[in-house]
């Protein structure tokens, strides 16, 4: 078995693993600790990884276990210690709606962890409901209901109407810096 190719496969998964970790714990600093621990465990248990199955799903499972067994309490204490939620960039929609990313992240952080993680998995990382169910060790129906509840809760937290308002828009004011789009030079 080539550990070098396994290493390369792990490296390729790091960006997604970090994104999942940050979404889970709400702190970039803590997320990197989580990723490091997950990589250590993955390396030590590489013989348990079944070739041909999703390495990403396997790594998410490991990282999730690390989080719930060791980091969850710390995450509550350290959440946003690195100003993660304060970093706002405008999430500009087609023409109908827009949300501010900083507001969104604050709302996301208020969700119960089991809702936040499944929403991240199926709504952003591209994992299937089936994969999310395996990762979380629950039925697919449970995943679906958690995702649904997460969306409803997010909508409430962000003040989105449950029904279209008079103008038919679901619009949330963005921060002043984000309202005018990308200020010159910000991305350079």
């Amino acid at each position: 078995m080539s550990q070098t190719s396994f290493k390369d496969d792990l490296v390729a998964q790091i960006p997604g693993l970090r994104a999942f970790a940050v979404s889970l714990c709400g702190s970039v600093t803590l997320a990197d600790d989580l990723v490091q621990e997950a990589l250590l465990r993955a390396w030590g248990n590489s013989d348990k990884f079944q070739r041909g199955t999703s390495l990403r799903a396997w790594l998410f499972t490991i990282l999730r276990n690390v989080y719930y067994s060791q980091y969850r309490k710390r995450a509550r204490e350290l959440q946003d210690s690195d100003g993660f939620f304060a970093r706002g960039i405008a999430v500009v929609g087609d023409q109908e709606s827009h949300l501010d990313l900083a507001d969104f992240r604050i709302a996301l952080a208020k969700l119960p962890a089991e809702q936040r993680e499944v929403l991240t998995m199926v709504g952003a990382s591209g994992l299937s409901y089936e994969e999310a169910a395996v990762i979380c060790g629950v039925e697919i129906g449970t995943i679906k209901s958690r995702v649904s509840r997460a969306r409803t809760k997010l909508s409430e937290l962000m003040g989105l109407d449950r029904r279209p308002n008079a103008s038919g828009r679901a619009t949330l004011a963005v921060s002043p810096s984000g309202a005018t789009g990308d200020p010159a030079g910000r991305g350079k």
Binding site: S23, L39, D47, V92, T152, S155, L160, R162, A170
Partner: protein, 85 residues
């Protein structure tokens, strides 16, 4: 440092176009959320995640894996065949 690396407004337009928006909207509509709210949430979720995925990865992870690999290689040369299926 991390916040700087993670900040990448470029490409957010591309990130905003997710193929799952319509599906989410349908699911949301069935639950009583209007489709535009659903689309806004779905889009924000993708932007949130893609912003993180695009962030520069700290060198320490590569260094960690390099160390682990080096340790294993030196271990193998000492213990000989230790293949397990």
């Amino acid at each position: 440092m991390a916040s700087k690396e993670l900040h990448d407004p470029e490409g957010k337009q591309a990130a905003a176009k997710g193929p799952t928006a319509a599906e989410k909207a349908r699911v949301g509509a069935a639950r009583g959320l209007d489709s535009r709210s659903q689309e806004a949430i779905g889009r924000a979720l993708k932007v949130h995640y893609d912003d993180l995925v695009r962030a520069a990865v700290p060198d320490k992870f590569m260094e960690l894996l390099d160390r682990l690999e080096a340790t294993e290689q030196s271990g193998n040369s000492q213990s000989g065949a230790d293949e397990s299926d």
